[in-house]
């Protein structure tokens, strides 16, 4: 075979056109099914469960809800239960049992405005500690919920009195390597990235990347925080090395400009934490690999350790559609299988090959 096919190839395996706007798609853990969330044109929310059969998508279940659903995660449930936690346009957080979707297992009016982003930790056999869900909303607050505590969040990150609020666009859990430690990273529309330490209940680090932050993700939730990728408007993303924090300079980072448009999502491969895929506003996907530098720390001017950022290489890119690809999820069970949904009302199942030789 010629050398052109030694790079990982992104193959669009199945594409399905839907009749509603789809905002998010998530694999159901330990299965070949995934859930699509969105809203119908008539203004009601919808959850659809699809299964891959013989190269086609079969609709297993369709569930309609009152309010459009913006985002969802399986991150905080156990592998037996596989409850889906969703955030909707009304600001409500609901946890559903997909077998019995009539009424939610846990429900709370989390925010006053739309929940833009949701993440879960402590479930699926990954990591230690209590399962928790974090939601970020347009009302500028980030709240952490525990399904055993009704009605009030366990942590609330809100603007101070009199502060003009900025939309929170994305949230992510990380640093959950034992029972007590946990961190939440939130990105806002004015370019702020804030890292909250939930063990000390304090703001650990903040920075501003000048453009609205569309998506943040740690490379692994359940380890001592290693890398954080933050993507923004105007095609830039930053990779922060989170192992070494300098008291004034914060974390070292490398930034890359790609996509020529908003980068809507970044997702790390569950099987290899140095490979991640970014989804862009022009309907394209870029597959990247992070290379660590020779030395991850160095002594700064004042003899304090500073981190050293590595470099990112583009492995492959593909253009799938003309509309932004708004969500992307890797399958935790099969390496290279992922599902992505885009604003052209379609969902695609992709296979990325040769990831084990990268």
């Amino acid at each position: 075979m010629s050398s052109a096919l030694e790079k990982p190839q992104i193959i669009a395996h199945i594409q399905k056109s839907l009749n509603y706007t789809v905002f998010d798609s998530q694999w159901i853990p330990c299965s070949a099914k995934f859930v699509c969330m969105g809203n119908f044109a008539r203004g009601s929310g919808v959850l659809q469960i699809y299964e891959i059969q013989h190269g086609e998508l079969q609709l297993v279940r369709e569930i309609e809800k009152a309010k459009p659903i913006k985002c969802g995660t399986f991150g905080a449930t156990s592998l037996q239960q596989r409850h889906l936690a969703t955030g909707d346009f009304d600001g409500s957080l609901n946890v559903w049992n997909l077998e019995v979707p009539e009424s939610p297992v846990y429900s709370v009016k989390a925010h006053k405005e739309i929940i833009n982003s949701i993440d879960g930790v402590g479930g699926l056999g990954i990591g230690d500690g209590a399962p928790e869900i974090v939601t970020g909303s347009r009302d500028g607050t980030v709240k952490v919920w525990d399904s055993r505590q009704k009605d009030t969040p366990v942590v609330n990150m809100e603007p101070m009195e009199g502060e003009t609020k900025r939309d929170c666009w994305t949230v992510a859990f990380g640093h959950a390597f034992n029972d007590q430690d946990r961190c939440v990273c939130a990105g806002y529309d004015n370019g702020d990235i804030k890292l909250f330490d939930l063990r000390n209940m304090s703001l650990r680090w903040e920075t501003n990347i000048k453009n609205g932050v569309c998506s943040v993700e740690f490379d692994r939730k359940d380890i001592n925080m290693n890398k954080l990728v933050a993507t923004s408007l105007e095609g830039k993303f930053h990779v922060f090395d989170m192992r070494t924090q300098h008291p004034t300079k914060g974390f070292a980072s490398v930034s890359e400009k790609a996509h020529k448009s908003t980068i809507w999502q970044v997702r790390h491969l569950p099987q290899n934490r140095d490979i991640f895929m970014t989804a862009g506003g022009a309907g394209n996907l870029h597959l990247w690999k992070y290379e660590y530098p020779a030395q991850r720390t160095k002594k700064g001017a004042d003899d304090v350790d500073m981190g050293v950022a590595g470099s990112v290489n583009l492995l492959q890119n593909v253009t799938l559609s003309t509309q932004p690809i708004s969500s992307l999820d890797w399958s935790p069970d099969k390496q290279g299988l992922c599902v992505c949904s885009s604003f052209d009302q379609s969902v695609r199942v992709l296979i990325v090959t040769k990831l084990n030789t990268v």
Partner: protein
């Protein structure tokens, strides 16, 4: 061309009758003084004429033959041999062989007859005609040849292009095939994996069924029975999760609240919405305006310290405006403007005063001046611009220049689309305009 025997040429028709043992130079109008060749030899049989012309040392490459059905010309500078044939020949089937110091022509006769002589005696005009015909014929032949050549080149190019395209298509197909194979392989792998998944799930289910509900009692937290889920995944993850739920989860976190503040900005819009260069410009202008004080005025000497401060004067003017003393307010603003011509608020407020005093033209001037100073148009000076537009619009309408007034009201509406009073006013003006036209 050497000119050996220049002599006055005899009439052209006579040159053929010169006894040809020696070379004779004749001045001919058409050619460059060639030497006529007369020592050719010829033989014939029933259907062919053979003419042999000695080349006299001229290279075969420079021999040029023109032949029609009735005429043969061989020109090899400096020599020329031409003959008007006795009978007509078939030019296409005739051939010429040039080499070895001699040119041999094999001419096929049209009619099988014996020629008495090679030449025919024809008069001068006929000769000229025949020569011209010959020239034409040669040209035609050349044209045809070049056309044929062009056509052939075209053909070859097309052929080359087609072959190139075929090759490229083949290459493309090959790469496509490789990609498809890869895709098919990945799909097959996926199907296989799913099959194994399903098989293990079914096995597990069967195991569960046979084992009964025993193991489930050990899980204190999980209430749901495992058999509800069809695909419970492979055995290792199932064991892991069972281990986790066996130990107690930590209690929910004690409630905490973290207060945050956002990166401060002078302007309230987010970076993506802001127009940074314009805003910087506006800030600079403001700073400059504050600094600009025109101090070389003679009248300033008898002013108090307060009255030299444009801000203080502006406040004074505002107070006077509030209390209804518009003329005094105008005076205060005048003095302030004399001190500092760069503050737009002064002009805007003076315009308001003039409006009240019905000095409409002055009002228009002042609000225009204010708007000039309020460039660039940014969010910070929006309210100031709004006021200036409204004042100018009102002044125009009072002067019955409704169209200009409407323009200003539209501009004001653009700044503040939600102002109901503005909208009502501009609608009224529209009506007036439509009523009068």
């Amino acid at each position: 061309m050497t000119d050996r025997h220049p002599s006055i040429a005899p009439p052209l028709s006579n040159h053929r009758h010169v006894v040809a043992t020696s070379v004779y130079v004749s001045l001919r109008r058409e050619s460059e003084m060639p030497l006529i060749v007369k020592d050719h030899t010829w033989t014939q049989n029933q259907n062919t004429v053979y003419i042999s012309v000695p080349l006299k040392g001229v290279k075969p490459a420079s021999v040029h033959v023109t032949c029609t059905d009735e005429y043969l010309k061989v020109s090899f500078p400096p020599f020329l041999f031409e003959v008007f044939l006795f009978g007509s020949i078939n030019e296409e089937r005739s051939e010429a062989r040039i080499g070895n110091g001699v040119a041999v022509f094999t001419l096929q006769k049209r009619r099988d007859e014996s020629w008495e002589q090679l030449f025919t005696n024809i008069d001068k005009d006929k000769q000229k005609q025949i020569r011209e015909q010959a020239v034409l014929k040669v040209q035609q032949k050349e044209a045809e040849k070049s056309k044929a050549k062009a056509a052939r080149i075209q053909q070859e190019k097309k052929y080359a292009l087609e072959t190139m395209m075929k090759l490229e298509n083949k290459e493309r197909d090959r790469i496509q095939k490789m990609k498809d194979e890869e895709c098919a392989r990945a799909t097959a792998e996926l199907d296989f994996w799913r099959e194994t998944q399903r098989k293990t799930a079914e096995e597990k289910e069967n195991q569960q069924k046979t084992r009964g509900t025993g193991p489930q009692d050990n899980q204190p937290v999980n209430q749901k029975t495992v058999t509800l889920m069809r695909n419970t995944g492979d055995t290792t993850s199932g064991q892991r999760s069972r281990k986790q739920t066996a130990k107690d989860l930590p209690a929910p976190r004690s409630a905490g609240c973290i207060q945050i503040s956002f990166t401060p900005r002078v302007f309230p819009t987010a970076l993506r919405e802001s127009r940074v260069p314009e805003e910087e410009e506006w800030l600079k202008k403001q700073a400059e305006a504050r600094r600009a004080v025109d101090t070389d005025l003679a009248e300033l000497d008898d002013l108090r310290e307060d009255e030299r401060n444009p801000d203080w004067l502006k406040e004074k003017g505002d107070k006077l405006f509030m209390s209804g003393n518009y003329q005094a307010a105008v005076n205060a603003y005048n003095l302030a403007i004399k001190l500092n011509r760069k503050i737009p608020a002064l002009f805007s407020n003076r315009a308001a005063c003039h409006l009240k005093l019905r000095n409409l033209h002055k009002a228009i001037e002042d609000s225009s001046q204010a708007l000039e100073l309020l460039k660039p148009a940014v969010a910070a000076n929006a309210s100031a611009r709004l006021k200036a537009h409204v004042r100018r619009g009102t002044a125009f309408c009072e002067l019955e220049l409704y169209v200009e007034g409407l323009q200003d009201y539209q501009a004001a509406l653009e700044i503040d689309p939600h102002n109901a009073a503005l909208r009502a006013d501009s609608d009224k003006i529209c009506e007036i305009i439509q009523g009068t036209t």
